[in-house]
């Protein structure tokens, strides 16, 4: 075992080990428990950074690869590795989890029970990170499903009023989608190269080379895409999301929005499109259409929200619509845009949920009308941070939200000629819809800021002793705030990583 082949295994499984240790600690050692949560996720993040530093950005293909026999009898292998598409999401997973652990130092939602809270969060971290490095379909599926149970309990135990409904809806909805995905995986196993394999590299080469028959691709793409689409979530499979995000505790929302949604879009880029290119070609206009609808629909829905957290949740549907639009164009720019959009959305929306969590912590309400405006007067720092992030989210040039959206729109002006040459008009319509969506997005975010930040403070909040941003909040937010700015000014930070992998993918697809 060398660092080269064991690095990502150690990094990915470290949180599980930490979770076990935390679960076994005595209940009354509250500080030690929280401290250990920070240490474990911090070390994991440091290891992830070390992986990123040692990564060779000049080549396409898997690095830090490890391929072991796991379940010989049914051909399942423990095959992990990392490439330019995985790396940004992988590092983001550890960053956000680390920041969540820091945030937990001060904020443990009711009803306490810090041990279980942190243990579940660390378990979730492994599940999410594992999804991005798995290169065996069954291993991928195992990690994919592993996030369900911890997230269910995070929402169900530490959520707000309607938590039980939201948590079970989240569980059933995603399970329902993913189970069709599993059927698709099994079908690819039996129709794939001889001898049968779940290996994602082998299946990708086989599928991209036209190995699967056209009818097969049409059916299986439908199943696999359903699983991913629920997770993204694509309109009209999004209804679990506003409930889950709204009811989840702050760090649950941060991790849900920041990382878990990306598992779906990542699945499209990593599995659905390269394995089943003909299916992708035929489904792309539909995916594009749903994405365009999602953008407009989410913006309109946001305009109607009274609950601050629900508003942010709905805005995620719209942002993921841009990501899906980029993917649907099947172009290099579109997929680059999608990956950038995923990272940017993870950073920005994660940060927005942190803000909303802190606002709730001060006001004990999330209703915009009850907050009643004037936040900049009482809490100028929190108000400014909130405004900064909201503006980033609406896609202001120079901040992180801009690149993913503008490039997604750009790519839908010229969708892939080989696959979608006859659909150009349609995709340009999607572009127009997306454009309308950006205007509406700007509208609802600005209106939200007007109602929350501006105006005069209602009298009853004057005496409420609202405290501005705390030290622990600064610590957990600073990296995200910096990233929003850095990614906006220097987008090559992500594109430089993804370039090789995405062009490799496009070459594989023959365009």
């Amino acid at each position: 075992m060398t660092w080269e082949n064991s690095a990502i295994t150690i990094t990915t499984l470290l949180p599980v080990a930490g979770a076990i240790v935390i679960a076994l600690m005595p209940k009354d050692k509250e500080r030690a428990i929280r401290g250990l949560g920070i240490v474990v996720s911090g070390v994991a993040f440091a290891l992830a950074v070390a992986i990123a530093v040692g990564f060779d950005y000049g080549t396409d293909g898997l690095q830090y690869e490890l391929d072991l026999n796991w379940i010989g009898a049914i051909g399942v292998r423990y095959h992990v590795g990392i490439d330019g598409i995985s790396l940004p999401l992988y590092v983001l997973t550890f960053l956000l989890s680390f920041l969540c652990a820091i945030y937990t130092w001060r904020f443990v939602p009711d009803p306490g029970r810090t041990r279980a809270f942190l243990a579940l969060m660390l378990l979730l971290e492994t599940g999410m990170a594992g999804t991005f490095i798995a290169f065996d379909l069954i291993l991928f599926f195992v990690f994919w499903e592993m996030v369900l149970v911890p997230m269910y309990f995070l929402i169900a135990i530490w959520g707000s009023a309607n938590r039980e409904y939201a948590s079970i809806k989240f569980f059933l909805y995603t399970l329902f989608g993913s189970i069709f995905m599993l059927l698709g995986f099994l079908a690819m196993y039996f129709q794939g190269p001889d001898p049968h394999t779940f290996d994602m590299v082998a299946l990708r080469d086989f599928g991209a080379g036209g190995g699967f028959s056209q009818t097969f691709q049409l059916i299986v793409f439908g199943g696999v895409a359903l699983g991913f689409a629920v997770k993204v979530p694509m309109w009209p499979f999004h209804t679990w999301l506003p409930d889950a995000h709204t009811e989840a505790p702050t760090i649950g929302s941060v991790l849900l929005a920041g990382i878990m949604l990306k598992m779906g879009t990542y699945g499209f880029v990593r599995i659905a499109i390269p394995f089943l290119p003909y299916g992708a070609e035929k489904y792309a206009p539909w995916i594009g259409a749903l994405a365009a609808i999602a953008i407009v629909y989410a913006a309109l829905a946001c305009l109607a929200q009274k609950d601050l957290k629900r508003l942010i949740a709905f805005s995620s549907v719209g942002h993921m619509g841009f990501v899906m639009l980029g993917i649907a164009t099947l172009t290099e720019i579109g997929i680059q845009a999608a990956i950038f959009g995923m990272v940017a959305h993870g950073v920005i929306t994660g940060m927005l949920f942190f803000c909303v969590g802190s606002i709730y912590d001060r006001y004990h309400t999330r209703e915009i009308a009850k907050i009643g405006g004037g936040m900049l007067q009482t809490m100028p720092k929190l108000g400014s941070v909130f405004a900064f992030v909201a503006i980033a989210s609406l896609g202001l040039p120079g901040l992180a939200g801009f690149w993913g959206e503008i490039m997604a729109l750009l790519s839908s002006f010229n969708p892939n000629e080989v696959f979608l040459g006859d659909q150009v008009g349609l995709f340009r319509l999607f572009m127009v819809m997306g454009g309308i969506g950006t205007v509406l997005t700007a509208g609802y975010f600005l209106w939200m800021l007007q109602r929350v930040n501006m105006g005069t403070l209602p009298d009853h909040w004057r005496e409420a002793g609202l405290r501005d941003v705390l030290a622990v909040e600064w610590v957990s937010w600073a990296p995200l705030l910096a990233l929003i700015l850095v990614l906006g000014l220097y987008p090559r930070l992500v594109f430089g990583i993804t370039d090789e992998a995405v062009s490799g993918l496009m070459t594989l697809l023959g365009s």
Partner: protein
């Protein structure tokens, strides 16, 4: 007669033990009646050791080929004996404190387990019948063991009437088989005889197969012979319910596997659609009725019916292709074993709760994380595993069946897989209802529950096994290699 005494040692030890229990009980004073349990336990462990000595000893045949000890048989014998250890362990306190006739109970329980242990070796219609009755008949009595309770009496009577009825139908089927094959009772020879049956006897053969299947369908509580199960489980003492849900139903599957894969394999085109319909109906009825349950044992009963539906599905996957049959067979066996572990665990946890809450409503699990943390965590793992969600062994069980279904191909395989998938999603709803009570609600009485050490140990071990199977599923997935039975198949 050729008799391989070494191969029969586990049965001899068990038979000797149960007679000993019966005799010793007479001489034990009332206060020491519980001593029958350690005595029985010692016998079961000795029998387990005897099974262990047979591993790797090849196929041993006794009584002119009617009684075979091969790897398939050993696997199930081992499973039944471990189950016996568990059921005995969770019985001790329950029966000691409940004021039951302990000696008789342990005698009956061991008799049933003797039937279980005989089942996977019986390669002859008559032996299968004897084994099945040996499992069932003591069960009728044990179900009614809570004599003071009307529900328990109902449990016994219902179980008895439906059991006897289906046995009668099955015997009739067996007699028809005997007739059409010209006097064969050995499974392997039935297969040969049925291969060239005259056309005018074809229909009769099919009817005979159907009747035989009915007997086993009752045992595994398949639709439409399932409705005794919830009432019987609910009325029975909880350890007896555990026995019925695990040992008795697995014994039914062990017999069914031999019948269908050995004796009737050639007629698969006739019975595959029947099993497909049985499986779909069983899992759907089980899951959807389970949604409305408020009592834990009834919930587990319906969950057991649904799980039987999943296992029956592997029978519906049989084709002419030997490789795909082997996968289906292995998936079925693997699922049965994993199901056994998680269900035993769930019943053990239920036994733990039953001391404080004899009514065993699901709501009685409220706040268990505080009152009995080990039991609560274990029960959560069992529920998640029964639902087939990682990180638990139940996930692999389901995956193996899905895989076999897709491998079978055609339109039936994927169609059945889709039905099972939808069912699995539905099942999550009621399985999660238990963890919801344990972790989200607070108990009315928040003091620590006193759980017998043996019960805690059983729950802890089962939890570890379920998680271990998830991490290292290879031994379970390898069952295909020991599926010696299907070598004889189509």
């Amino acid at each position: 007669m050729d008799v391989d005494y070494h191969a029969l040692l586990p049965e001899f030890i068990l038979a000797g033990t149960l007679l000993l229990v019966l005799v010793v009980d007479v001489f034990l004073p009332e206060r020491a009646k519980w001593f029958a349990m350690p005595l029985g336990l010692a016998g079961v462990v000795a029998s387990l050791v005897a099974v262990a000595t047979l591993i790797g000893a090849g196929t041993r045949v006794s009584f002119g080929g009617t009684y075979v000890v091969d790897e398939f048989a050993l696997l199930f014998k081992g499973f039944f004996l471990v189950t016996a250890v568990v059921v005995l362990s969770v019985s001790l306190r329950y029966f000691r404190e409940g004021g039951f006739y302990q000696g008789e109970y342990y005698f009956l329980l061991l008799t049933s387990f003797l039937g279980c242990v005989m089942m996977p070796s019986s390669r002859d219609l008559l032996l299968l019948f004897i084994a099945l009755e040996l499992v069932s008949a003591p069960g009728f009595l044990m179900a009614a063991f809570r004599k003071g309770d009307v529900k328990s009496n109902e449990a016994g009577v219902k179980f008895f009437i439906i059991g006897v009825l289906s046995t009668a139908v099955m015997l009739f089927g067996m007699s028809l088989i005997y007739g059409v094959t010209g006097g064969e009772t050995k499974l392997a020879e039935i297969a040969t005889a049925l291969a060239d049956i005259p056309d005018d006897l074809q229909t009769l053969t099919y009817a005979a197969i159907l009747f035989v299947v009915v007997g086993f369908a009752f045992k595994v509580s398949a639709f439409p012979f399932q409705f005794w199960a919830p009432d019987t489980y609910e009325g029975s003492p909880v350890p007896v319910a555990a026995f019925l849900a695990v040992a008795s139903s697995v014994a039914g599957f062990a017999g069914l596997l031999q019948l269908m894969f050995v004796a009737f394999a050639g007629q698969h085109e006739f019975w595959v659609p029947i099993f497909a319909a049985l499986s779909v109906a069983t899992m759907t009825v089980g899951n959807f009725v389970a949604l409305q349950q408020t009592q834990i044992v009834r919930l587990l009963a319906y969950s057991g019916i649904a799980q039987s539906g999943y296992i029956l599905m592997t029978f519906a996957l049989v084709t002419d292709d030997a490789a795909s049959n082997r996968s289906a067979f292995a998936a079925g066996v693997a699922y049965i074993l994993i199901y056994g572990v998680m269900n035993l665990g769930a019943f053990a946890a239920t036994v733990a709760v039953s001391r404080r809450h004899p009514a065993l409503r699901i709501a009685d699990f409220a706040g268990l994380r505080e009152t009995a943390p080990v039991i609560a965590v274990g029960m959560a793992v069992f529920m998640i595993s029964l639902a087939g969600v990682p990180p638990t062994g139940g996930f692999w069980g389901k995956l193996l069946i899905f895989q076999a279904a897709i491998e079978r191909g055609g339109s039936l395989g994927p169609a059945l897989a889709v039905v099972m998938l939808v069912n699995s999603v539905v099942s999550v709803f009621y399985y999660l209802a238990v963890p919801r009570q344990m972790f989200l609600r607070e108990a009315a009485d928040r003091s620590r529950m006193r759980v017998p050490a043996l019960v805690t140990a059983v729950v802890a071990v089962a939890t570890i096994v379920i998680v271990a199977i998830f991490v290292l599923p290879n031994p379970v997935a390898r069952l295909a290699e020991i599926s010696t039975l299907v070598g004889l198949g189509p």
